[in-house]
Symmetry: C2
Subunit: 355 residues, 2 copies
């Protein structure tokens, strides 16, 4: 049998394979509404109530570097990324299960710092940390969080409900997380150079980079937009489709368009770039727009909504209209500030298995 490397089919190819293998199991359970393929699975425990469930795994040296990541913030982030998936279904988070594999070198204080961050974030979002599993690890730290949320059948929002001619909206700003990550990577290089050359390195340097603190915060301690979900619920409006931006605007908008069978036209000038990001990009000789499109990990909400429903949230300064959904045949286009259009599909997000 020929060896087929996973990098050859990529992360989404792998997910497709897994979804196909899992598909027959869905039919063994009566109340399972949605399986693999959206931000959350959907289950109906009783009439009128829907439950959404998601899980996220954070792996040392893949998702985080302990040299640049305070454990308390890592704990908080591991909760936030799951709350963000729950929010993407227009649902409210209820409880979480947390598993960790811990290297032998870890101290009790390190685990305490991690769970202090988790408990802090969970309390902020109103999520109970209800269970979990602990194990040793022969290599790095692995954190796996599963979270269950609830939503009424009327409010549940899938990726697949967009129709042509609707508004494409995004909450908050984009690119800040990528900017923070790039800065942390540069800082790490400087740190390692100092160590290599036997020069003193002041550990507090990073903390002193106050002008960048906002970008660091976006990357190390993103906040899930539960406030936007609460706003939508309070206005009694439902987006036609929604996703949270974890892979990047380009990739996540493609998920919505593919699930909904629509195209999209996004205006570059309308994309809300995180304020410090342009300056950081200049300093690092990189491009802020590319970070906003493909950086990912901003954990903002991307949603489509009818023009009529949009009116109810039009006065909200934290929600930007960045374009419109179109017929599928028109493709996914980005119109730049000079009016030229490029194919958004040529701008890629992060793939765990691409080589």
């Amino acid at each position: 049998m020929a060896y087929r490397a996973i990098s050859g089919i990529g992360e989404f190819g792998l997910i497709d394979k897994i979804a196909a293998l899992a598909e027959p199991t869905l039919h063994t359970v009566q109340n399972l509404i949605t399986g693999i393929g959206d931000d959350c699975a959907v289950y109906q425990p009783s009439a009128g109530l829907l439950q959404v469930a998601t899980t996220d795994m954070l792996v040392e040296q893949v998702h985080f570097d302990l040299l640049t990541t305070p454990l308390k913030l890592l704990g908080s982030k591991s909760i936030s990324v799951n709350v963000s998936d729950i929010c993407a279904m227009n649902a409210l988070p209820r409880y979480a299960l947390i598993s960790i594999a811990v290297p032998a070198s870890f101290s009790v204080e390190m685990i305490e710092a991690l769970y202090e961050g988790m408990a802090y974030a969970a309390t902020e979002y109103g999520v109970a940390i209800a269970g979990g599993d602990t194990s040793s690890s022969r290599s790095g730290l692995v954190i796996s969080v599963s979270m269950i949320g609830e939503v009424s059948a009327e409010q549940l929002t899938h990726r697949s409900g967009a129709k042509p001619g609707e508004l494409i909206c995004v909450s908050g700003t984009l690119g800040g997380s990528a900017a923070g990550l790039k800065l942390l990577m540069r800082e790490k290089e400087i740190m390692l150079e100092h160590i290599e050359n036997n020069e003193p390195y002041n550990k507090s340097t990073m903390a002193d980079l106050k002008e960048y603190s906002n970008a660091f915060q976006n990357h190390l301690s993103p906040i899930a937009r539960l406030d936007i979900v609460r706003l939508l619920h309070s206005k009694n409006i439902r987006p036609s489709s929604m996703i949270d931006i974890s892979d990047g605007l380009s990739s996540d908008l493609q998920h919505i368009c593919r699930s909904s069978n629509t195209g999209a036209l996004v205006h570059e000038g309308r994309i809300p770039i995180h304020p410090g990001t342009r300056r950081i990009a200049e300093e690092l000789q990189d491009d802020a727009l590319t970070w906003a499109l493909t950086g990912g990990e901003d954990y903002q909400l991307l949603f489509t909504i009818s023009k009529k429903e949009y009116e109810a949230i039009a006065d909200n300064k934290d929600i930007a209209v960045i374009g419109e959904t179109t017929d599928k045949e028109e493709g996914l286009l980005l119109s730049d500030i000079y009016g030229m259009t490029i194919d958004l599909r040529t701008v890629k997000g992060f793939d765990h298995f691409s080589s």
Copy 2:
């Protein structure tokens, strides 16, 4: 600040710390009935219905060795261990979320084999694989499964309900998993010796060890006792307390007694030792009783039940009465075949963090 190694407080010390940190988050959610400390968390999505939730992480080189573990069986086991936790609450499994971190060296076929095993087991138990997460891993394979089950308020069984004077029951046989593991470890040594000495090693040797196949199966592909839960439901009886034997009879009975504030007296002669285990133990110059008490991973159900309720299942040959619960002050005792008693607490199960 002094460095405190996790091995100093052990796995249960670590879980206690985590439970204390998570405790305040429980109060943020109205319908959370039980947090950390039982086989599952318990949540009430709507009146009359209870939901139980559990999660288990399997880490390469800690929980399994790919040299001796076929991926299909590993997939199946990762489902079974979670179903077993759901069963320990007297509940029925409904859906699962599965996260994996995959080393770059893995092929597509390896992942397919893993998920084939998962899907096979899930279908057998009637569990939907409803979602998950995939990531790359810089070191070994990590599998994290979370599972949600359901049970009525009348049938829910905690660890904490045992009362003095009840029967202690165990399903199936014990020690088989430990025997299988010891054999696999010996086989691995032989294999590595052959490789070191540049001698040919016939890979099929292990498969030829037919006389041991039962013990291998117990370790590599344990079956959760959903049939026992269904039996209890059909007879309309509820154990006063229940746990699944993952750490070993000694350790898991201690969990029940500590949660229930009782003591226990177990008769050595009544413990159902897995049939092949005594011979394997002799061959490996080890002790079958110790394996049954501390080997763990048998995934049988250990429960307490009133003598009156027991009558309804007394004719079941797959449930053994191994002793009785006693007053807390009497401690946890094992009465051996000569009538001598020893303290069960001196016989320890597996601790992930003990050095």
